[in-house]
């Protein structure tokens, strides 16, 4: 067994729906507010789109001003940063998600207190990604090339850098000028946590001393309609009641957008310079279901994930921050894999998607930030809309060969607070899963 070095979280930042900054996000999350609103871009499509709600950030929110070259075109040419933090040359290579990513990186570095020399060191890496492609950027290419039959240059010379898969990492790296690793780890809805996990390993095994890590999902109607087409999005509830993890009436997730970025640092270095340590990462583990199913969650895969997480680390969480998307199958199967691992007492389950929906590639990192805030506030935010848990067994529990708990979801009501509660929180386990059967888990602790 290789133990490696300890890794601390020393900074965080991001872009969150209906919040001016991370302080407003903190306040709204722990006072039990929903960040989900009706999304006019979906609603105006009327019967073309089933779901009408989202946790969204407009192009011109957060001090960002989009520049439209041609009136009536629904894709910005570039952006202006009215706060003056990001130079125009960096904005010219960014899509909206990259702007959020760069802002989150700057906030994280400021909170971490890294010097210019530390930030620009060969031992500082950037590991950030988004789940989706550069859809909005591609609109112009589709329109100009396929519909209007124009030459390729009408797509603009920034189609590649603004739409490529690792655009967020590339843009952050060009902005902060680090000299270490610059990569993206992409694993659908596990992307946000996966990037933090990979960055943790880079530091743990001595390849880097510092890293900017996280996940992003830029606002995109294309992303939204992809999931809407699968009929997996919440439908028929008022916006604040749309995301209902564990509730018997849940009928899908709320598609949301945002960014969560954190600064990681080798623990002894952070300690030595007197950094404020938001958390220590105890362990990260990820695996695959191995059952050949792209979409359906796997109880056995999740149980193996928990075993892997616990193999070399002391895992006794006070809170399990679950993936909890509010799709009919996922929530209860995940709840049972938690209960079958940890028992029926001694911890709480938190499902932050109840408040802001599913941020896809950003979900793991934004929810990781919620976990950091739980450690700071010593509070667990309630699971909104988890009004009624099923008193009957789920269908998968009735199938032959089912090896998990034979109790219904309602038996675990006591684990899922409906309002914010205060308690001593020393360790939080964060869980995220993605299409393709990928499972990821990270345990973090208070630095005491």
């Amino acid at each position: 067994m290789v133990t490696g070095r300890k890794v601390a979280v020393v900074g965080m930042g991001g872009s969150f729906p209906d919040c001016a900054d991370i302080n407003e996000f903190d306040q709204k999350i722990f006072s039990g507010q929903s960040l989900i609103r009706e999304w006019s871009k979906a609603a105006e499509r009327d019967k073309q789109i089933r779901s009408k709600v989202a946790g969204y950030i407009n192009d011109n929110d957060l001090g960002i001003e989009p520049i439209y070259l041609v009136e009536g075109y629904d894709w910005p040419e570039t952006f202006i940063d009215t706060r003056g933090r990001i130079p125009d040359i960096n904005l010219s290579t960014a899509d909206l998600g990259c702007v959020w990513a760069m802002n989150g990186a700057l906030d994280s570095i400021e909170m971490a207190g890294w010097t210019k020399e530390e930030t620009q060191s060969e031992m500082t890496g950037v590991v950030v990604a988004s789940g989706g492609g550069g859809n909005v950027i591609m609109r112009n290419a589709w329109h100009a090339f396929f519909e209007l039959g124009k030459k390729s240059r009408q797509a603009g010379s920034h189609m590649v850098d603004r739409a490529m898969s690792y655009r967020e990492a590339a843009n952050i790296s060009c902005l902060i000028k680090n000299r270490g690793v610059c990569e993206s780890i992409i694993s659908a809805c596990a992307t946000g946590l996966g990037n933090i996990g990979y960055a943790y390993r880079l530091i743990k095994f001595g390849l880097q001393d510092r890293a900017i890590a996280g996940g992003v999902e830029g606002t995109s109607l294309e992303t939204f309609i992809g999931f809407d087409a699968m009929q997996v999005l919440s439908k028929g509830f008022a916006p604040a009641e749309s995301s209902r993890p564990f509730d018997i009436k849940r009928n899908g997730f709320v598609c949301s957008f945002g960014a969560g970025i954190v600064a990681l640092e080798e623990y002894e270095m952070a300690k030595a310079r007197g950094a404020n340590i938001l958390a220590v990462i105890d362990e990260y583990f990820n695996n695959s279901d191995g059952d050949g199913d792209m979409f359906y969650p796997s109880y056995n895969g999740q149980i193996r994930m928990w075993k892997g997480l616990s193999a070399n680390a002391h895992i006794k969480p006070d809170v399990v921050k679950v993936h909890g998307t509010a799709t009919p199958v996922g929530d209860i199967l995940e709840l049972i894999s938690v209960v079958d691992t940890l028992g029926e007492e001694g911890y709480h389950v938190s499902a932050p998607k109840s408040q802001f929906g599913h941020m896809l590639g950003a979900a793991g990192s934004v929810e990781f930030i919620v976990a950091l805030l739980m450690l700071k506030n010593q509070q667990v935010p309630g699971c909104l809309n988890s009004d009624t848990l099923n008193p009957e067994l789920e269908n998968f529990q009735k199938k032959e060969g089912w090896q998990g708990s034979m109790k219904p979801a309602a038996a675990y009501r006591h684990l899922i607070p409906q309002e914010t509660i205060s308690k001593e929180i020393n360790q939080v386990v964060c869980l995220n899963y993605g299409f393709g059967g990928t499972n990821s888990a990270m345990a973090i602790s208070r630095d005491i």
Binding site: L69, V70, I80, S92
Partner: protein
């Protein structure tokens, strides 16, 4: 459309290129060089050409772009040439 009007239209296009310093657009003449006088990043030159095509409703030949000089007058020359060709093709 005379050269003066084309220059004014070209400056309008340049104002939408965020990496071009707006202060440098105050004294643009036909002799201004995109590369040496305005420090325009090379990746933006093709964007300027594409936007000029939209603005003036013309389409440049690839060879014209390949041989394009870096001065403002070169772009104006090209616009006039492309406009003439377009009108010819449209039978005016």
């Amino acid at each position: 459309m005379d050269r003066k009007e084309i220059l004014a239209g070209l400056i309008e296009v340049l104002r939408t290129i965020r990496t071009v310093d707006p202060a440098k657009l105050e004294n643009v003449t036909e002799e201004t060089d995109f590369m040496t006088d305005m420090n325009t990043p090379s990746t933006e030159l093709i964007n300027i050409a594409a936007k000029v095509e939209q603005k003036f409703d013309v389409e440049f030949e690839d060879e014209d772009i390949d041989e394009l000089g870096s001065k403002v007058k070169d772009v104006i020359d090209l616009i006039i040439k492309a406009k003439a060709r377009t009108e010819e093709e449209r039978g005016n």
